[in-house]
Amino acid sequence: MNHINTYRQFLLFMLFISIGTFLSAQNIQVTGTVNDKLGPMAGVNIVLKGTQTGTMTDMDGKYSIQVPPTGVLEFTFLGYNTHTVNVNSRVIINVNMEESSQALDEVVVVGYGSMKKRDITGSIVSVSDKDLQSNEPVNIASALQGKVSGLDIMSTSEPGTDATFRIRGTSTLSDGGSNPLFIVDGMEVSSIDNINPRDIASVEVLKDAASAAIYGSRSANGVVIISTKQGQEGKAKVSANYSLKQSRIGKKLAQMSRLQGIQYETLRNFLNGNYTTIANRDSLNPSMTADNFYQDLLFRHAWTNQVDVSVSGAEKKIKYFISAGYLGEQGIQINTFNKRLTTRINADYNATPRLTIGNRLALTISNQRRSTSESRSRLLQRPANYNVIEPDGSYTPILASRSNPLAESMVGKNNYKIYNLDIYEFLEYKILDELKFKASIAGSINLQKYQSFRPAILDVNERRKATNQDDTKTSWTHEDVLTYNKTFNKDHSLTVLGGFSIQEFKTEMTKLAVVDNISDAIEISNAYGGVDMTNTKATWTANRLASFFGRVSYSYKGKYLFNSNLRYDGSSRFGTDKRWGFFPSASIGWRFSDEIFMQWMKPVVSDSKLRLSYGVTGNQVAGNFSSLGLYTTNFYADMPGIYPNQLENRNLGWEQTKQYNIGLDVSFLDGRIGLIADYYNKKTSDVLYQVKLPQTSGFSSSYQNIGDVKNTGWEITINSTNIDTKDFQWSTSLNLSFNKNKIVSIPEGGQQFINTVYILDKGYAVGTMYGWKAKAIFPYDESNAFTSDWRQLTPIFDAKDRFTGYELDGKAYDGEIKQYRYNTANGDVFKGGDVMWDDVNKDGIIDAKDRQVLGCGQPDVIGGFNNDFTYKGFTLSLFFSFALGGDVFNAYEQSRSEHKWSAITRGNPANIANSWKAPGDIAKFPKPNGAAVMDNTRFASSLWIEDGSYIRLKNIRLAYEVPRNIVKKIGLESLSVSAMMQNFFTWSNYSGFDPELPSSGFSVGYDNNSYPKAKDILFGVNVNF
């Protein structure tokens, strides 16, 4: 018997070696069902350990396999823990699979390669496919918002418009120079709006210099690496998604009605000494008989459809992922939309065991109509009694210079057609098992066709205008990378990487601008009367980059980690002597939980790692030819003019950011609670700054390497599984980012004001609002009275309202009386209803010297807070995002509250109600009179600054994963449905549409007629088969 057994085993062994899958009759047949908590699982791999014998579960989760009774079975499924079972002669083995929660084994994409999350020493955040898809996003900005600490995304609800991304604050002083670098499948892209978020497998955000430095001269603002999906081992998987969204305006603002408008006009005229004329009371004028609430006319319930289908899979030699998606998005403002078609083919082929070739091919076509800024500029200030539609059905033309917002929205063109093609091809050859060579070529074409047409009705002079503009951006990148990866003596693992790349970016623009088109019927630059020659032109601009880069990573038992990234970059943008730059970085990690002396805390702290990094990164945001002396054109009397407009600066070079980062990763209770904390200090020097020049030189500014900006901050992420039972799970994640920004130095006299109210100067944070502070409104003419040390006196009136004298602290005062004057020592005296400004220098003259810091647009803390509750197949998620401590400058409120322009500029009825109207009024706003001699409603004033803090319940999501035993009856693999409410609840004191405002450059928190925020109801279905 023993002998036979031995013989059998020997035979078995031989069979396995020679034919692998052929099985001996001596084996037993094992059957069973594989389940997870949702029911039977199809496609689970079952392998007899140590052999190639294997099978897969069917649609019902059932399997059957011939194995020796002493064998060991391994059940594997992606995203689940591998389950190992000893057969022990059993013939029925049922298995329950568990989803893997062990985050540390995840692989994270880093520049030009990948690393185990466990071995990361820098500050990198990885967002998985599942997290990205959770709120059915239409673009990457909405998919990422609030999910990454240190990444601030500010977006609008307008279809097709870019969001603002900031990683660890604003580091530079050039407009648009603080955008992170976006890398999609190894290729730099300028816009990420062309990517279908459903095609994304993961997004990695490289925040610290040590991680980003491998991208050298463009990485100072951090790097966002986006990887698209690849096929997974197994049979073809078809996945389909559909979502339907209804959006509506989240908040409406007060607008004066017809009656309120006439009352306002009467009051304003009265205060001006004009007691008779009311321009808009004429009830017989057919153009002035309406009572419109413009927000109801301009905003609607908008519907968005999003459909995506993908097919993916992999067999021995090939991996594939093909997808197509369509987004039909309506904006909440009438006649705005974005229709986008995205397609993608990702394929990898193992041509020989050592050679892999592959490509990534993505084509996006989109068609958009965006709102014109004019369409909203009159939204709240055009008199309500002005018509929008005439009795004959046509649109009302411009009345008293007030354009018709409905006509602005409905007629004409402001359309964009965008065609984007990205191609990436690579070959990877294994020279040795440890040594890989990868070469790739990537190319991108982005063609944006802009069409603007303004029909006669939109122009004061009834002159039509049309513009057609084509922007073609092309770029290519070639890269060669050698990677050496080896583990010595089990404990020492080493990765060395070296590479070279060359890149070119080119933009060509052709623009045709015409006036006096013959007809409104031809909405294009055709059949016109004249050409706008200064705007009809073609331009060409390009830059190139050549780079060498390398990385060394070393790990001893995963306990001591070292990583260094180096890059040497040459850019065409700078003078010959300054074009090459070197960007080194290093980081170390220490997994102290693996130390023997730390074993005592193992029961609580399962894993902990300390990270330290330092690095230098760069920024080359200056224009393509910014070191040259250049000329530009203007136009006079049938002839172009050419004049110098850029001063030569041969010494122009890189901007450098030095950053260190200290981080701590701790995971408690076997991964139930995870904490990631980072502190960083980021100092940018040689800032590429558009330095103002004394314009007597003939030039207003020039790019120079000057000034320093500092950002310091904390980032904390906590993930916790609060309850984890078989049927019910509750998990929470919270991320917080605190950033402090400061301009450390700026050239002498370099103080600048952006949008009048934002100061750029030494010692101030970017986004600091600077101007005059309104302390109160003088109730009486006599209230403008102060003692010689500027204490305000109280005027006393008798029973008949006659002024009798002053009191100070309840006692009659008969000393010297001083008064505030406007602008000069002999300027006008402030009176009742004027603003009492803060006289900073105590000289009684309210002038430019009395300006002070009024607020700052940058929030103190931003973050996200998510709660997932799962019960069987149901998941309820509540996702909050918040930004606290930032201010908003409400420029639109200022423009409609100025009073001085015209009686028909309607203000905010709430503000008018709270304005000074008669002597004695204690008011918040000054008197609404037209002759605004004292400049009471000046722009740079604290009257328009509000707290922009908000907490938003961004998403309430209820999802249901239909049990598999039900799903399989209709022939599907999985089916889930979800319903969401997005942006439904916002807690904020801000009076405008929305405190979340995308900004370009320095005007942080600047609300000028922004697109209102939408709140959405969304329904989505996901099917896999």
Binding site: T277, V552, Y636, A637, D638, G698
Partner: protein
Amino acid sequence: MKKIYAVFLSALLFTSCLNDFLDVNPVSDIATSTFWQTDNDVRAALNSIYADFQTNYNKNSGGNYMTWFEMRSDNFIGTTVSSSMPTFAANTNKLNSSHASADWNVWYKSISTANYALYYIPDVQGLTEIKKNNYMAEAYFLRAFCYFNLTRIWGNVPLIEKPTLSLTDVEKPTQSSQVQILELIGKDLGEAVKLADEGLNDVFRFNPGALYALYTDYAMWMHDYDKAILYSGKLMDLQRYSLVKGTEFGQVCADGTTSENIWTMKWSYQNNKQNWIIYMMCRTSAPQMIPSEGVKNLWNTEEYQADLRRYQTIDTTVVYASNHISSPNGDAAIWKWQPGERVIEANEKYFPFYRYADILLLRAEALNKQQRQAEALELLNMIRERAGLSLKTMNDFTQASDKILAMEDAILQERQLELLGEGHRWFDLIRTGRAMKVMNNYFENYIEAQTSDVCPRFTEEWQLYWPVYYNNILENANLVQNGNY
């Protein structure tokens, strides 16, 4: 590790080859290295300065033109107080350094281009001597025109004679005195007279007539009456100019290319966008300035009622109410650039810098000052005759205690109506020493009599000039604020 060394060694080797790859030169932008080569380059560079003038006058929605040239005089009432277009403040002597039109920078942009031209033209190949000289004359002329306006508006201003070719040339100059500026203008005009080609004529750009007109204007400011007589005489000797008929008076501004126009700014709607100056002065709702009651009343006097220029300059049907200063009548526009029309924007607009009537009257003033009153009277009567007015005789002046002053008053009054809105009145008042008296009288008997407003009086010379824009001082701490602004 060796491989790393290899990579970085090759990096160093390839660097030089890669430098060729990294040489990317502009295609659609013009660089200094490729400019200033041909006739066309010079023409385009000088042409850009005229475009600057358009930008400059049109800036702040036409506010620059209105507040620099007209609003400070008694010709118009300003109706707005915004710091970007302070027509009321300019009119009532309440300017301050935050008013956007206090910014002189666009003038310096023009001066910079003129300095480039003066620097580069001598080396441009393929130009005939005559042409080269004429371009030099044009550059001198344009620079003189810029400084003449700068110093008349601000008094003391920085004097920049050299081009700023690279960042190292950038300086923070202090202001030079008005005397020094005027000296440079005289030198530039002298050079231009030597170099100009008398045969050329282009009413929209530099031409000998324009040069002599500017020289005459400059000489009058300098009280150099001999030079004024000399250059106005040279202008007449060109025999190109004559007065248009009184019934066609409107054409001198609306057309701008008549026999009377010496130098005109041409405006093209499609290429230069909206002309705010004309739009703001002519529009019916919320006009930025309306003719003062004094001007309206003068035209209503018996002497001037028959004036052919009157209805071609202003809307005569408008009646002023007692509160017309605080609540201006929207119809009270000056419309000489498009008589009888309001907001219609024609494709082409014209804005005369100099025309023959202006120079004739300046010459009359100069002759009067040089005791050649008969000749002066003849010129004055040319203008009055064209306007359909009765002719003055010597008897009208002989009774006066000061004959010269009386005739000067008559000429200035004629200039006020003839050139209303064309930007001459304020400088006429300054150079004849009348500004303070006329304006203080205007405040007392008009503005303050009809409103509750209190206007600071003109008492010191600095008040005649604009403050330096606060931002210009921020850019250059070496600048000094004018007077007590």
